[in-house]
Symmetry: C2
């Protein structure tokens, strides 16, 4: 239960923009960071003390990495299980392996959430094509077929609008293990970024209201349009998830707001794109909150002192960077990615926001 001593290193699995911003937050608290990431010149490597550029199957590299750090965390869900098992034998991994196992598999995740008494979209297990037909008959069209594993930013998903489409839909996701989810009629999408410390304390940031396009988050605005009761519900359900997983770190919880209450869409066991606004809106942002948790430090209070709108900048938005640099009250974050492909997250802008 001791805090990681000043000057110690935190290991981060994955070298993308989340690892980059975690590294910066760790430096603010006097910690060093080691990134483990197969890709060279990755965003996190630019600001980390050390970059282990190796495959997740490279046991010698994994051992060297674990022996150079005091604690290990991750910035993405799909870390191979064999790597995790090897690392866990050497150093604490926070959040633990259970949150990863739960969130890596949509079927496990939904089952876990329902087991906590939380509302989710209706869903069915789809191990094969006949099961898909049965599930669609049961849930009704339209519904979304999603691979159980390795989906993100709308990938590995296909909308089924009528029963005749099941064969094509199943082929479109590569005939993989899947679930069928009923569509939820929602008023808005919000998310809660919550943290749990090593001693079990829970802190939530103010919920943000999200706009997705093409399955990719485009904007988050705080404060979200929510009643006081909905805010309380959101914080309580996030706390329930954190406690059930004996979680240490920051968790993102995506929610649908419906007339019947809040429905959990999905959880992400890491800092979350919809929490980037905290860099401008809070004294302690989500990245530092996560570092505090995994390092065994007390959590920050998470209070928001200004209203913020965060906009994601995709590859096709990069021509707007000069205009964004010239805007008043706008804080730009670029991730240092050299190739600006359409749909690729290249940066974000946090804007001071003064109501509608």
């Amino acid at each position: 239960m001791n805090a990681l001593p000043p000057g110690a290193a935190i290991g981060i699995l994955g070298g993308g923009q989340l690892g980059r911003m975690l590294s910066v937050a760790a430096s603010r608290l006097g910690y060093k960071t080691c990134i483990f990431e197969p890709q060279g010149d990755c965003p996190a490597s630019h600001v980390a003390n050390y970059h282990y550029k190796a495959a997740y199957e490279d046991e010698a590299a994994l051992r060297a990495f674990s022996s150079s750090v005091g604690v290990i965390t991750y910035e993405f869900e799909n870390v191979p299980a064999t790597a995790l098992d090897l690392l866990e034998a050497a150093r604490p991994i926070r959040p633990g392996l259970r949150p990863l196992a739960v969130s890596q598999d949509r079927l496990t995740e939904k089952t876990f959430l329902q087991g906590l008494g939380l509302a989710t979209a209706p869903f069915r297990d789809v191990p094969d094509l006949p099961a898909l037909d049965a599930a669609l008959a049961d849930i009704g069209a339209p519904a979304i077929l999603k691979t159980r594993r390795l989906g993100y930013d709308g990938k590995g998903q296909v909308l089924i609008e009528e029963a005749s489409q099941t064969t094509d839909a199943y082929a479109a996701i590569g005939g993989k293990d899947a679930i069928l989810e009923g569509l939820v009629g929602f008023e808005r999408e919000v998310s809660v970024i919550a943290a749990r410390g090593l001693r079990g304390e829970v802190v939530c940031f103010d919920p943000g209201e999200n706009i997705h396009r093409g399955g990719i988050l485009r904007e988050t605005t705080v404060p979200a349009t929510l009643s006081g009761a909905q805010r309380t519900d959101a914080a309580l359900l996030a706390g329930r998830i954190l406690n059930a997983l004996d979680y240490v770190g920051v968790l993102g919880v995506e929610l649908f707001v419906t007339p019947q209450g809040l429905i959990v869409n999905e959880i992400a066991p890491r800092v979350h794109n919809s929490g980037h606004w905290t860099q401008l809106g809070c004294a302690v942002d989500q990245f530092e909150q996560h570092i505090r948790a995994v390092a065994g430090l007390p959590l920050g209070d998470g209070t928001r002192h200004v209203d913020v709108r965060m906009e994601n900048l995709l590859g096709e938005d990069m021509h707007r960077v000069p205009d964004l640099l010239a805007e008043s009250g706008t804080q730009l974050h670029l991730y240092g990615k050299s190739e600006a492909r359409p749909g690729r997250k290249m940066g974000h802008a946090n804007r001071l926001f003064r109501g509608a």
Copy 2:
């Protein structure tokens, strides 16, 4: 006049906490950084892409450094002139060499400021002991004897309270070239952090009110207690200094507030300790403002959206870190220095501040 392209590297001379926070700001804009600093494991190296660990006399290292970056800046005033001459032949140095030459020498600095029509403390050139006696007779005691070069944080200074102390005082500063400054009776000390872009535009942050103890800055509070006219004066005089130096980057101007108006104490041709509050108070902080300027990007607007009090954490304050981590509305910055000597700047805390 072109902006530094995304992904290019900025060279920083000096690897202390200012270089560290400049590196983080550069990363936010998608730039890489190369640090040139003789000391190993220096604060800036933890978050920079590359650390040239070499002496300022190492011409081969200086050449390699300059060829790996698109533009060069510095985080401290006392860069050796020979190194600067070699580097300037290869790459633009921003701010230029003139601001360094002016601020490296207290006599040159004061003469420059008076030449701009700005008020300073009365001063006399002290090339030798007889000159000191004559200067004291002229200015009157008490007065402060300061070495012309290499002084910072109250070092190289000695207070002279009566004429009998001149011999000891001159010995105490090592018999170096010096100036004698008359004491200014001031109501408060404030500073302006101002920036000038590559196209000559000037932007000022809100003045901060400073408390020094033992010659070291301890606290900066914004807003400072100043009249509207004083705020305007402060911005105008900072602009005059920036324009006269054809400056590109952030400049710190320390001012005494007196019944007769603002008196310039000293200028620092770099980001400044009294501007650290901007990390919590502004969408674009002083470090990013400096990076924007030296990279040829448009300056940020510098508007402050919350009140902030910044407290420096010295070696003897480090036992308070656990309490500071637990405070609401406090943003902690630690510099990753391994040895916490008394008086050494180890970090700072930016606190949301809600009036007196």
